[in-house]
């Protein structure tokens, strides 16, 4: 292993600039002459706009311009798009209402964009925004996921009768029905997957600058995928041609999915800078973030499992209503369909699965991917249902899982729901987790707690997820509008140091460290001589960005492929310089050597030779700079078992997590410290969903959890010190042998926590978030 190479817990090199205040976030950027934008947002969940009067506001001090939806339309600026098509059961594509960046005649959720006020200062823009008079015709609001598509509900969009976006059945309904009829036992469960606000620490922001000389717009914004932003804003929104639009995602303070999407504010600011011929800046305040960031989850489901007399799963049937909000966000349709139903096999060999997802419109903020995106919903449903099955069959939750796990010899395993898992050893992870959690001695601890008036519970979650998205052909077949390969360029400078350009984007993941470790391992260049560059369409080649735990599993492979090309070219150069046959050149530890001799040449010397090719192989291009694109062969399937032990105070309903043990399979680890950080953060996210985070709208569509006074984020004192370990397998479909790790915790944790509480109380189910009052009421019920 190279120093600081693969497997080393190298401290994150990017942290230095963050710790000494030298980070450069979008809101840190100030451009001479900049103006400030404030969005006037709808205070109503559902209303027609009868008129907008901007006369008084336009005359307010410092106002540069005020624009409404009519101005955008007049310039041909297109509506926001949804990039993935789902075919409904009537054979038609999903219903896609027009999603204008600024409202045209109607608003559909609280926070919907009505107008933008641009002024010399932020205060002046806010003052003027208060003077814009909007005459609304308030309509009844639809906010309930379970009933939004019922008859008699207010219709939100004409193109979507019954507020239905799609009804998407998947699987053989009749065959499943048949198995259910004949089954020894059917266990069932109704459950809610609670709506969450993703809450990256840095709120969304954008600053746009138009250069009339070059006719180029430069848009700095909080993005997880600058090239995807550029592509969509160019191709679908007509903001500017792709070659005249530069999108930069500078330092970004967390994304968790919420910064994948192309948002109204970004398009409007990008367009407005040209209209006013001044830079325009917008930064969301926290309330705006709550109101207008895409939210996550929000499912209501019924799940049923048919079993034989041994508790063997025969068939699974799932009916889900998924809330997509008022409009379709960029990937809104994909999350409750392909990212959800294709995970319903979980770790189990259930032969038949039928699911039906009704996606509905409501007068709430758009819902899209949030850490895990579809897989937490599938995992929560399945892992809760498995515990109910265990109880119904009188089996220990461990035993029922063991009886149904896909055995290690069955890999690669074709599930009945599209995915083909390439590797996994679910028994190994479970066994290791049971030891880590001291599962065998739980009964004694429960007894001890009882003597103190507390109730202890222990819960498992054996999850698998599909990430590392995604093979482009598969994406295309499913109705996706993009390819999901990744790109890299690895460039030696003449002096021997290396710049790595990646199409992924780091917003907290530590790519600058992990990717440098990959390169130092492969090329032998000292770690400190490697710089990773990302996030600027003017610097890096086209790339697809970071989400779906894809950066290492897809982007890392692209980097490795570029390194391979450099080594191949380097062999030609070294062979010429060392006067040997190319076939005799070997490369290791940064040196090209002639096999069986002591003749050697460092890769830095080769690089110099390539840029100063005075004596050089005939016909070979000068330069030492290679790019590579990698289209993954399959999804990546991290898996593991998480075990949570809780203590419930039946007097108050408070839940304390006593111990949390996680054993994950992430394949080979490049930087174990960074992986552990992702596991910790993911579990915190999952515990947040299980115990604390509940996004609530009232029946009039007002967001009543619009600040941290009412929306509870997990904090350090909500969490124990985690016990984590790994049970790796080698995924044959990934050339680096790696799996994604960024979302696993958020996927695995919620059912582990809830299963533990259910176990402590002896109830069948408890909905998330399991707040003290919810738990107290459940404790009273038994």
């Amino acid at each position: 292993m190279a120093e600081n190479g693969v497997g080393a817990s190298v401290r994150r090199k990017e942290d230095n600039r963050f710790l000494i205040g030298k980070g450069n976030y979008t809101d840190d950027i100030t451009i001479a002459g900049q103006t400030h934008a404030v969005f006037l947002r709808s205070p109503h969940a559902h209303a027609t706009i009868n008129s907008i009067d901007t006369i008084a506001a336009s005359a307010a001090p410092g106002v540069v311009a005020i624009f409404t939806g009519d101005d955008l339309a007049a310039d041909g600026i297109g509506p926001l798009i949804c990039g993935v098509t789902v075919t409904s059961d009537d054979g038609q594509p999903h219903r896609a209402p027009v999603h204008p960046a600024l409202a045209q005649g109607k608003v559909n959720y609280v926070g919907d964009h009505v107008a933008v006020v641009i002024a010399e200062s932020l205060s002046q823009a806010k003052d003027a925004a208060e003077l814009v008079e909007v005459d609304y015709g308030v309509l009844p609001a639809v906010t309930n996921t379970a009933t939004a598509a019922d008859e008699g509900q207010t219709q939100i969009h004409e193109v979507a009768p019954g507020n239905l976006c799609f009804n998407w059945p998947f699987g053989d309904k009749a065959a499943v029905e048949e198995v259910f009829t004949a089954a020894h036992k059917v266990s069932s469960l109704e459950l809610i997957n609670n709506r969450m606000v993703t809450n990256p620490m840095e709120p969304r922001a954008a600053i746009a600058d138009y250069n009339a000389g070059t006719e180029e717009i430069t848009l700095h914004l909080t993005t997880q995928n600058p090239h995807v932003h550029r592509l969509v804003l160019s191709a679908f929104n007509q903001l500017a041609p792709e070659h005249k639009l530069r999108v930069v995602g500078p330092d970004v303070g967390g994304g968790f999915g919420a910064k994948i999407f192309i948002y109204a504010e970004e398009l409007v600011v990008g367009w407005a800078c040209r209209k006013v011929n001044r830079p325009v800046k917008w930064t969301a305040d926290r309330t705006e973030a709550f109101l207008s960031d895409a939210h996550g989850r929000d499912h209501v489901s019924t799940a049923e499992m048919a079993m034989d007399e041994n508790g063997k799963f025969l068939a699974l049937r799932v009916m889900t209503r998924a809330n997509l909000g008022a409009y379709l966000s960029t990937f809104g349709t994909m999350v409750p369909s392909y990212l959800y139903a294709f995970l319903l096999a979980g770790q189990y060999s259930t032969p038949l699965i039928y699911s039906e997802v009704k996606a509905v419109f409501t007068n709430t903020a758009p819902v899209d991917a949030s850490r895990g995106a579809g897989r937490p919903e599938a995992t929560f449903l399945l892992e809760r249902l498995v515990d109910v099955c265990a109880a119904d069959m009188g089996l220990d939750p461990v035993e029922i899982r063991r009886r149904n796990f896909i055995p290690v010899e069955a890999f690669p395993y074709q599930t009945p729901v599209v995915q083909c898992y390439d590797s996994g050893d679910y028994h190994a992870a479970l066994d290791k987790a049971l030891v880590l959690a001291n599962y065998g001695s739980f009964a004694a601890r429960a007894e001890e707690a009882k003597s103190r008036g507390k109730r202890r519970g222990i819960g498992l979650s054996s999850y698998v997820e599909a990430c590392g998205i995604a093979p482009s052909a598969a994406v295309g077949q499913l109705g996706g509008g993009v390819g999901l390969w990744e790109s890299a360029q690895v460039r030696f400078n003449p002096t021997g140091n290396v710049q790595v350009f990646t199409g992924t984007h780091s917003h907290g993941q530590g790519h600058e460290t992990t990717f440098a470790q990959l390169v130092t391992e492969q090329l032998g260049v000292p770690f400190g001589n490697i710089e990773v560059i990302h996030g600027d369409t003017a610097k890096t080649q086209f790339g697809m960005g970071t989400y779906g735990s894809r950066s290492l599993a897809v982007g890392g492979v692209a980097i490795s492929k570029a390194c391979e090309k450099l080594i191949a070219k380097g062999k030609k150069i070294a062979a010429h310089a060392l006067e040997a046959a190319e076939g005799d050149i070997e490369f290791a530890d940064g040196n090209f050597t002639v096999a069986g001799t002591d003749k050697a040449m460092s890769i830095e010397a080769v690089a110099f030779n390539a840029y100063v090719p005075h004596s050089y192989p005939e016909g070979l291009e000068p330069g030492f700079d290679e790019n590579a694109f990698f289209d993954p062969l399959n999804f990546s399937f991290p898996a593991g078992t998480h075990i949570c032990e809780v203590e419930v105070d039946p007097d108050t309903g408070e839940v304390e997590i006593i111990k949390y043990s996680a054993v994950d399979d992430f394949g080979k680890l490049i930087n174990p410290m960074i992986v552990a950080g992702q596991v910790h953060g993911g579990i915190a996210h999952g515990v947040g969903q299980a115990l604390l985070e509940g996004c609530r709208y009232d029946s009039e569509g007002q967001l009543i959890t619009a600040s941290y006074m009412d929306y509870a984020m997990p904090r350090a004192d909500n969490l124990p010190s985690f016990d984590i370990d790994y049970a790796p397998t080698d995924p044959p479909d990934n050339p680096l042998g790696v799996k994604g790790c960024g979302e696993a915790g958020a996927i695995g944790a919620p059912p582990a926590v809830i299963n533990a509480i259910v176990n402590a109380l002896g109830v069948k189910h408890i909905d998330m978030p399991a707040t003290p009052e919810t738990v107290w009421r459940a404790a009273q019920s038994v």
Binding site: S123, K126, D127, T287, D651, T652, L691, L692, R696, I704, T705, Y708, M709, D710, Y711, A712, M713, N718, T771, P772, E773, W776, R777
Partner: protein, 264 residues
């Protein structure tokens, strides 16, 4: 935030004069509620009169039977005061669990009780300990100070100078925190002196109040068991997404019981 005039004063007299000459002035102490409210444009005082420069309002003094805390003393100072920790440990502990470190190092006792947030901690202590609120005009018994939600007995130009807490035999404060804000969903301060028990309750109702029913039960039988039979009027309780009235009424008893247990 809307525009306002900022005035920093160095004496209570100057503060009062500044208030009297302002259109719609507000005193600001630590600003931990005032400033966020202004930032959200929910308050727009013409003048903000900063009491932070009045040295006389800051500090803790102790005599034989009283702890007197200057109005501008921060929560962190009260929590860290070894004298308060000895004289009324429950009070130091209460102060040490208000908000977060930033709030505790800016927020003050005077600001807290003048604001009278229904879920603030200090009002429970002021009521249960039978404290006296001292102002530039008068002394107000703690029982009479809190008059309604965000309302107090203070006049517009009246400045709290200090709060005097009598020492008691035993006291404890138990708070059930809102998981999001960490304010009290229910906070119960129990104080016992001789045979007399006083109970101050915050968070449960629109304004902190004395728990007379609980006091009646605990006077004569100062035990957790005595709390069980007390009926807490559910209809008077606050109800929100975090806790229903029924749950709050239940928590009043649980927190009282635990406070009594902590006293023994």
């Amino acid at each position: 935030m809307y525009e306002f005039s900022y005035k920093k004063v160095s004496s209570v007299e100057d503060a009062v004069a500044a208030m009297q000459s302002a259109d719609d002035g507000k005193f600001v102490a630590g600003g931990q509620t005032m400033l966020p409210t202004m930032k959200h444009r929910l308050a727009s005082p013409s003048d903000l009169i900063d009491l932070g420069g009045i040295g006389a309002l800051n500090g803790i003094s102790i005599d034989d039977d009283t702890v007197t805390i200057g109005a501008m003393t921060t929560h962190a100072s009260v929590a860290a005061s070894s004298e308060v920790q000895v004289a009324i440990p429950a009070l130091a502990k209460l102060a040490g669990n208000i908000g977060d470190p930033a709030v505790r190092n800016r927020g003050t006792i005077g600001g807290s009780i003048a604001n009278n947030d229904p879920a603030a901690d200090y009002p429970a202590a002021v009521i249960a300990l039978g404290a006296t609120v001292k102002t530039n005009k008068r002394e107000i018994p703690g029982d009479e100070f809190f008059t309604g939600m965000f309302e107090t007995a203070l006049a517009e130009d009246e400045v709290i100078t200090a709060v005097s807490f009598p020492m008691v035999d035993k006291a404890a404060y138990m708070k059930f925190e809102n998981p999001a804000s960490r304010y009290a969903i229910v906070g119960v301060f129990v104080a016992k002196s001789g045979d007399s028990v006083r109970v101050g309750i915050t968070g449960a109702t629109p304004c902190a109040h004395r728990g007379m029913r609980l006091e009646a039960a605990l006077n004569g039988n100062f035990s957790a068991a005595a709390v069980e039979g007390v009926k807490i009027p559910v209809e008077k309780m606050n109800s929100d997404i975090h806790a229903s009235a029924e749950y709050r009424a239940h928590l009043v008893k649980v927190m009282t019981r635990r406070a009594v247990e902590a006293c023994s």
